[in-house]
Symmetry: C2
Subunit: 223 residues, 2 copies
């Protein structure tokens, strides 16, 4: 092909530490999707990333550090995605929440592999202080996003029967629970039905005003 002499192809390519670290984080999540809990070994991760085993410990002091940063990245991607979907929706709080539900219960978020990743991370939670720390921070992000949208909804539709805090907790629980159930058995219900259940929940947060206001808005449960 090329000149036979000096231009040997290099055996590997150097990258900036921050780029390589990100590549290793991506490989961690991909390997986790493919092999489940067993995908979290340095050998599987390095094979997925196309690098040697030792490179992981060159960029991360311990394997657990890489896993915790992968968890952080995974969280940020989800929250960033659904937040973006919500913000580019029409200007009413209800429309933003609807877009938020649709993004939550659509690919790439509603994916059996993705939810496997969540469950494996959760299974590490109790015995890994690093995972706990990351969870605390990103869970707050998620709750704050939900809470801010509910606050806007309350401003439009009237007072809730619950505190904002409790309404956000309930909605998050409903979303997480439906997520989990769909992952464990996608045949039980369709994503559109999950969205309908979430919308019903926020419909009933208000007492009377909400009920009247959304008579026409809420009826089409199909997307």
């Amino acid at each position: 092909m090329s000149a036979p002499l000096s231009p040997r192809k290099p055996r590997f390519e150097r990258q900036l530490p921050q780029e390589r670290r990100q590549a290793l984080i991506d490989a961690t999540i991909e390997s986790l999707k493919r092999y489940g809990h067993e995908g979290l070994s340095v050998r599987r991760i390095s094979a997925q990333a196309g690098v040697s085993i030792g490179l992981i410990n060159h960029h991360f002091p311990k394997k657990d550090t890489l896993i915790a940063q992968a968890y952080r990245h995974f969280n940020s991607q989800l929250v960033g995605g659904v937040r973006a979907a919500a913000l580019q929706a029409p200007a009413t709080a209800r429309a933003r929440l609807r877009a938020f539900f649709r993004a939550t219960f659509s690919p790439p978020n509603l994916d059996r592999d993705v939810l496997t990743v969540w469950v494996v991370f959760w299974s590490l939670y109790r015995h890994s202080p690093e995972i706990q720390k990351v969870h605390g921070e990103t869970y707050r992000e998620h709750i704050d996003l939900v809470r801010s949208m509910l606050a806007d909804l309350a401003a439009e539709a009237g007072k809730f029967r619950f505190s904002l805090r409790l309404a956000a907790i309930g909605l998050t629980a409903m979303i997480d629970g439906l997520w989990l159930e769909w992952c464990l058995d996608p045949g039980n219900f369709r994503p559109a039905e999950a969205i309908a259940l979430c919308e019903s929940w926020i419909d009933n947060l208000g007492v009377a005003i909400t009920h009247a206001e959304n008579a026409a808005d809420t009826l089409p449960t199909a997307r």
Copy 2:
């Protein structure tokens, strides 16, 4: 200490296979509570049960079989417990559901270790056909219990805005999600608040009749 001659203490006690199997299942769950995912090794389990390593493979063909049976036992215990709590409650569907919620969000079910056990089992789901099989059967048990109580409620309080199927899915999702959130961070809300959220969900399943009927019944959210 004792007589020096014939009455030597036996080095171990034989047990009936079915009893020993149950003891190993109990040890599996206990080890899982203690050590998380790492507790699912034959060495930890056998140490917990006070037997040798080889005994596990004497009673179970593979480790995965023991784990799947432990999952089944754990599921049955939960469903049996909350069903019993529901059935010994007063005769109205609402009272049974209330007792069901209380049992769900009280010890021994509402326990951080217990919920760790769930999450670890779920994390095995995708790559273990045996776990999938057990889940399919026990999940149906759980859903059927919820659905039958909701059916009774519908007979008392009027038609739901959702199908029975969807109402049961939504309630189960709410319960599981609150369970999960409380496990991951018990400081975010109190169990009584979780119960209030669940009761609010079933209150709003009916359209108008329910709302009027339970004005006095629903107010005390504290237990």
